[in-house]
């Protein structure tokens, strides 16, 4: 991965000249110094919110689903909305690290680690909801096929909910492995840097005795490539299957064939927005502006424009089909969405997801972290409302008018949702303190000097594989005479 040369025509991915040593220093710094006061404040806040969530869930599980605002007509609302929302967030991580990796998008290197971490935490948050939304969560394990004395009572393989169980657990496992595997070289770096004591012991274990030998590197990269290949289809599959929860039902507004692509695009859309939100904070707080550069942010905004476009198209298509199918129930459902009692939710969604991304067409907006930050939040709000609209407005007025009803959330539901953010940020803040949030090894491969000659560096410490990523037996880099030629030379092995 680290063996290509970067065109000099491109804006460098590491904006300031840094030596490898400096890079290592910088990235490891947060783990080695005491957490800042700001961190403590943030952490306290996060834990407090988490506590609220825990309280709410405890109350709900001990009392009954009745403490939510659901009724005989609307069986899902906040619970599944939040579930889909978080699963969506959980998309960008693996997408950035796996798919962009396969496409050799080098700009991913300084954000993929954090993005993957985000994925894991988001999926954890998501996984809470399918469990607590059950009337009898203590029997949740019944959704797993296991031998039993009921002669023998199996699970229902026709049920999309069961598919979810498999899809999400698989996705989580692979993402976790992928993320951890990418960590190993850096864990080794940390191991080598610490003076001993418990921390050393721990990192010794965690880094699986990594010895940056070229063979290790070779195997590492092969496996990393394979894992990336394995993770990629999952990025597509997991949200496709989540969308089946709705697509395979009979309820007008749910029963739609375009849901899979629609949901995946939406997931990437919201996922990137969330990555942006986090990155913009982190780069400021940890002073990584030169590692997570404007170019990174800009690239991500471009992805958002595209996926935002796909989402908008999906919204349009739904309406077109509702009209074109001539199905009176479909027609009604969509008219009801746009002009019924929940119209406010629908138009919030449209403003956030369809209109706001187009601001990114302006270079000024794309390159202003503040603007990006605000828009990323707006998009996340919009995407939450998308799920709310799909679930609630479809349910509250379906086939028999006699059963039509309305839904309003209770404080317990809101509290639970807020609580998941508490969980998410608690984990993320811990992550920034205990692990290198930027892949040291990979970022070095895109550091400015990596484009020129740098013989002395890697000769100096051969032991530190993590500091000699570019040193690869297969192809040794040759210094290129002129930028122009470089540009030509680059074409053959690198997408432009």
């Amino acid at each position: 991965m680290s063996n290509q040369h970067t065109s000099t025509l491109r804006v460098p991915l590491v904006s300031e000249e840094r030596t490898l040593g400096q890079l290592t220093e910088e990235i490891c710094a947060p783990m080695e110094r005491k957490p800042s006061r700001m961190w403590w404040v943030a952490f306290a806040l996060a834990v407090a919110t988490l506590a609220v969530g825990v309280g709410m869930v405890t109350y709900e599980v001990s009392t009954g689903i009745g403490v939510w605002g659901l009724n005989k007509t609307i069986g899902w609302a906040f619970d599944i909305t939040n579930f889909v929302f978080w699963v969506g967030i959980g998309h960008a991580g693996t997408l950035i690290s796996a798919i962009l990796f396969l496409f050799r998008q080098k700009w991913r290197t300084s954000i993929n680690r954090a993005a993957e971490a985000m994925t894991l935490f988001a999926v954890m948050c998501a996984a809470i909801f399918p469990v607590i939304h059950m009337g009898r969560p203590w029997n949740a394990f019944w959704v797993l096929p296991y031998p039993n004395s009921r002669g023998s009572l199996w699970v229902n393989f026709r049920s999309p909910l069961l598919w979810d169980v498999f899809a999400i657990s698989t996705y989580f496992t692979i993402s976790a492995v992928f993320w951890y595997f990418g960590l190993i070289p850096d864990l080794a770096t940390v191991r080598d840097r610490v003076k001993g004591g418990l921390k050393k012991a721990v990192f010794k274990v965690l880094s699986f005795g990594w010895n940056g030998s070229s063979r290790t590197w070779h195997r590492y990269e092969t496996v990393y490539l394979l894992l990336a290949g394995l993770a990629t289809p999952l990025v597509i599959s997991v949200h496709t299957i989540v969308s089946f929860d709705f697509a395979t039902s009979v309820i007008p507004g749910w029963h739609t064939t375009i849901f899979p692509p629609y949901f995946v695009a939406g997931a990437v859309f919201s996922g990137f927005a969330m990555v942006l939100t986090l990155m913009i904070i982190t780069r400021v707080v940890l002073g990584f502006e030169h590692l997570i550069t404007l170019r990174h942010l800009e690239n991500m905004t471009k992805v958002i424009i595209v996926t935002g476009g796909i989402v908008s198209l999906a919204y349009g298509t739904e309406f077109f089909i509702a009209w074109y199918s001539g199905n009176p129930y479909e027609k009604f459902t969509f008219m009801n969405r746009a002009f019924g009692p929940y119209a406010w939710a629908y138009w919030t969604m449209v403003t956030c997801n369809v209109v706001s991304p187009h601001l990114f067409w302006f270079k000024k907006v794309r390159t202003s972290p503040a603007a990006i930050f605000v828009l990323s939040l707006v998009i996340n709000v919009g995407m939450w409302f998308e799920r709310f609209v799909i679930i609630v407005t479809s349910l509250h007025r379906d086939f028999l008018p006699s059963s039509w009803s309305m839904y309003t959330p209770t404080v317990v539901e809101v509290g639970t949702f807020v609580g998941t953010f508490g969980l998410f940020f608690t984990l993320f803040l811990l992550f920034t303190q205990v692990l290198p949030i930027i892949s040291i090894g990979e970022v070095k491969s895109v550091a400015a000097f990596a484009r020129g000659s740098h013989a002395p560096e890697h000769a100096s410490h051969p032991a530190h594989g993590s500091e000699t990523p570019h040193e690869h037996p297969a192809e040794a880099p040759e210094p290129l005479p002129t930028p122009a030629l470089a540009a030509v030379a680059v074409r053959k092995d690198m997408p432009v």
Binding site: Y146, N148, S149, R150, F208
Partner: protein, 208 residues
Amino acid sequence: MIDPTRATLLSGVLAALAMGGCDTTPVNNNQNYMPEQPIAFSHAVHAGHYEIDCQYCHVGAEKSRHAGIPHAGVCMNCHTQVKTDSPEIQKLTQAVKLNKPIEWVRVHRLPDHAYFNHANHVTAGLECQKCHGPVQEMVRLEQAEPMTMGWCLDCHRQTQESQAKAPVPPLASGVLMASASGVPTVKAPTTPASRTLNPPTDCSGCHR
């Protein structure tokens, strides 16, 4: 250093075991449950040695869902004369004197959400022992079979397959009370045609 693969493998196995545990512990399987009873009644003596017919005491078995535990009156039919001096029988006579029913400890029990109907099984010619084990040999009553859903279904499925010809229902003599209306429709002893059993395997066969 720890080998993660082995570790995961191990934890996986543990999880599987735990899950199995979840299923085998519940109330619906306490095989070999043999509690002490307020009166040391021996089926071995009554059903075994004296060969008293089960339904002499458990009258409900052929008409009702519940076989029923005989009321003290039934015991006193004999025990006003027989072994009146035995301390165990004394307990019985005391109970009758004090007008205080005897609190037996229930041995065979299904969870409340499972509906078992004795009459259906008895009239289909099923041996009591098939489910209750060799009661005539038990000095203190014991739950012989697991009595789990799987155990019930096995029999139902096998019977369905074998389509065993049932013997003529033992109640051909007439006094059929087990109707929804509970009416003793005393009719001439007819011999119903022997039928092929078709025990339900639908959920609603037992869960209502």
